[in-house]
């Protein structure tokens, strides 16, 4: 009897991997590529997390690797095990808990009284950043042709960034024409 650490605590990043493998078997490199085209905007992951995590999930029996070299180039394609699929469903059924934001632009605006003249350029920079994100997301929409829930979440990303860019524009206008705003 092989010991499988089925009860190990999984960090949310592990579920990014389980989730992507529920689409289709793939390599760590593929995982990174897909993350950068999708979850990155609300849950990023680097190689430094992905490869060690693949090892841990494999040791825990939640995924299985198969060697599929391309010529002399080694390649390990991972797929979900039955246990892995069960753990993914379990996680999907539970309430989401983590919500964290780190927005340096908002932080600068918050402290802008220490240098009021810079508030306008902070707002403009934040607006531009959101516009750029929108562009990248639209490109992904056009080239990646996501479907189903992936498309729904992509549209969330686009609309949220539109809202944020808009808010920055409105706030900048209010700075120009002070007080009369409610």
């Amino acid at each position: 009897m092989i010991y499988l650490a089925l009860d190990m605590d999984l960090a949310a990043t592990a579920y990014v991997i389980l989730g992507l493998l529920s689409w289709r078997p793939m390599s760590g490199y593929d995982v990174k590529g897909l993350v950068d085209q999708s979850t990155r905007f609300f849950w990023a992951a680097s190689y430094g997390q992905i490869y060690p995590e693949l090892r841990r999930l494999s040791d825990a029996g939640l995924i299985e690797g198969e060697e599929r070299p391309q010529g002399k180039r080694r390649r390990t394609v991972y797929s979900l095990t039955r246990e892995g699929r069960a753990r993914l469903r379990e996680w999907l059924d539970a309430e989401p808990e983590v919500y964290e934001l780190r927005d340096e632009g908002l932080l600068k605006l918050f402290f802008a009284s220490a240098s009021p003249a810079t508030a306008a350029s902070t707002l403009e920079a934040k607006r531009r950043a959101h516009e750029q994100t929108i562009e990248r997301l639209r490109e992904i929409e056009a080239t990646g042709k996501p479907e189903g829930f992936a498309l729904i979440v992509l549209r969330y990303g686009i609309e949220m960034n539109e809202w944020m860019a808009d808010w920055c524009a409105r706030a900048a206008a209010d700075l120009d024409a002070p007080e009369r705003a409610a």
Copy 2:
């Protein structure tokens, strides 16, 4: 001549401290209390960061601590030095760079095809979470009476969470009445 590490690299969390001290001198405990009432929604900080950071900023000459015990209870009140104020302004003048989001609800929605029945409850849980945040922010607005940029940013928090709660409601409705939505 005392060596001051004026050129040390500051993490954004250091600027949370410098920013709050630009309002008025205060203790580490005060900093934590204010962070929890304000920046926490877009830049959190724990005691485990704050106290060591106060030490580092003090060693670097950007802030100065003064002992102000209350009876036998020790208390160190920090204030910005001239250099500290200059560093804060410098940071405010530079473009914001960090924008990071970790939204477990969005992640679960993204992978909902592995358990479609749970998408609705994920949306509902995310909506509730945003509603709760709105409540807390409104309470802070009423009790804390923030002004100026702090008020502007607080309203951003309220409106952004309203947008997000709304989006969840709309997406849940679209799940019920599929396809006809564009």
